[in-house]
Each structure stands twice: as structure tokens, then as C-alpha cells.
């Protein structure tokens, strides 16, 4: 396994850990707060979405011409 491949796999794992933490935080906020949870939940959804679009969906690729 070459170094770049290993680095990319590690990056995927780190992103997953970030998503996991955010998801658990969302659950904690949503299940503990009986009211007023909308704003904190919306704020927490932003980094989750960004992580997936940026690192898993490679959005930047689109601006670079979309090549492999």
C-alpha cells in the first residue's frame, strides 16, 4: 500500500470520527433540550454537511475541472 493511499484512508477515518462526534452531539442536544433546540441543531448540521461534501464528495474537484 503506497503512502498516499494510506494517507487518504486515514483522512476518511478522521472525517468519520468528526461526523460521529457531531452526530452524537446532535443527539445529546436534541434529546436533552425540551425547547429551543432548532438553532443549535442547525448549527451542528453545517459542519457535518461540509465534512461530507468537502472530503467524501470531493466538491473542490468540480472547480478543478472534474478530472480524476
Amino acid at each position: 500500500m503506497d503512502g498516499v493511499y494510506r494517507l487518504k484512508r486515514m483522512l476518511g477515518l478522521r472525517v468519520f470520527v468528526g461526523l460521529l462526534v457531531l452526530d452524537l452531539l446532535e443527539y445529546f442536544v436534541g434529546s436533552r433540550m425540551n425547547s429551543g433546540a432548532l438553532i443549535p441543531l442547525a448549527v451542528l448540521a453545517v459542519p457535518s454537511t461540509w465534512l461530507i461534501v468537502r472530503f467524501y464528495m470531493h466538491f473542490a474537484q468540480l472547480r478543478q475541472g472534474g478530472g480524476h
Binding site: 468519520f16 452526530d23 443527539y27 436534541g30 433546540a37 467524501y56 464528495m57 472534474g66 480524476h68
Partner: protein, 184 residues
């Protein structure tokens, strides 16, 4: 200045087309998520099974990781890795759908589709589950093609396209999960 080959041009158009398709799907989900707030406001039933919602969320997040690993594998010419991680992604997608069946079963008892929350719940979860199902079918086709020797480090648009779609399904759930289960 380098000249773009026909294959590179086609790949660029494919990427653009897929992102436009994903954007159109995002509008559909945004409209339905907005309708949840318009129809039901911020209310949710007290007996909603949030733990089950969290469990299937974690399963879908994990499937996004395995999908990413499958795409990364074929980009580096690792066909065995592609087959392994794509199979895992499909398996996790099936587990997610089984979780949806359980939550629908509970939902039918607690808030039937003819109630305000029920209509939002079944429409949103149903539309999302349909996307999961189509993603699973597409990944199964790609898995079978991979087994027959299709795709390599230089030519893997089929894998990339279907996995981007799968990640979009995950992004949609990242918004739907708090919208249905957590907002109050």
C-alpha cells in the same frame, strides 16, 4: 496550455451533470424539510424513538466511510479493496433500510400518516428510504461490474458517480435526522 482529450471532456461533463442532478435532488429534500416546519411547526411526539433514529444514523455514517474507502481503493488500483468496501456499504445500507422498517412499524402505531406529524414523517423518511434503495441497486450493479473486471485506477467513473450519490443520501439524512427526531 494542454489540450483536453475526449475522455477528459466527457468526465468533466459527467461530473457537472451529476452535481446538477444532486442540486436538483437537494431542492426536493429542502422543500419537504421546509414543509415539516410549515405543517407541524417545531412539535414532535414525546414517544418518538430517538435511539432508533440515532442507531440508523450511525449505520448510514459508517456506510459513507466504507463508500469513501471503496472509491479510494479503486483510485489506487486496489480492486479487492473496492469489492470489500462496496460489499460492506451495501450491507450497511440494507441494515439502514431494516431500521427504517422498524421505525415505520412504530410510526404507524404512534402517529399514523393521516396525522400532521405522521404525514411529514412518512413522506420525508419514505422519500429518503427510496433514495437509499435506488443507491443500493446502483451499487449492486457497480459491484457486479467490478467482479467482472470493470473499472481500474484510470477509469472508474461508474464507481465514483454512484458513491457520490450515496454520500448525498447521507447528507440528506444529516439534515432529516434532527428535523424529524430531535427538533422540538
Amino acid at each position: 496550455m494542454t489540450m483536453e482529450t475526449g475522455a477528459q471532456h466527457r468526465l468533466r461533463v459527467n461530473h457537472l451533470g451529476l452535481w446538477l442532478f444532486i442540486a436538483s435532488e437537494a431542492f426536493l429534500f429542502t422543500a419537504l424539510i421546509a414543509s415539516r416546519y410549515m405543517i407541524v411547526g417545531l412539535d414532535r411526539p414525546d414517544d418518538l424513538n430517538q435511539t432508533l433514529g440515532l442507531a440508523i444514523s450511525l449505520v448510514l455514517l459508517l456506510s459513507s466511510l466504507t463508500a469513501y474507502l471503496a472509491e479510494t481503493a479503486i483510485k489506487h488500483g486496489d480492486r479487492r479493496g473496492l469489492l470489500r468496501y462496496l460489499t460492506m456499504t451495501i450491507g450497511l445500507g440494507v441494515v439502514f433500510l431494516i431500521g427504517v422498517v422498524f421505525e415505520w412499524n412504530e410510526g404507524l402505531r404512534l402517529f399514523p400518516p393521516d396525522t400532521e406529524f405522521g404525514s411529514a414523517f412518512f413522506t420525508l423518511i419514505g422519500l429518503h428510504a427510496f433514495h437509499v434503495l435506488t443507491g443500493l441497486l446502483a451499487m449492486t450493479v457497480v459491484l457486479n461490474l467490478s467482479r467482472r473486471g470493470h473499472f481500474d485506477a484510470d477509469d472508474h467513473w461508474g464507481v465514483e458517480g454512484v458513491i457520490k450519490y450515496w454520500h448525498f443520501v447521507d447528507v440528506a439524512w444529516v439534515i432529516i435526522f434532527p428535523t424529524i427526531y430531535l427538533v422540538s
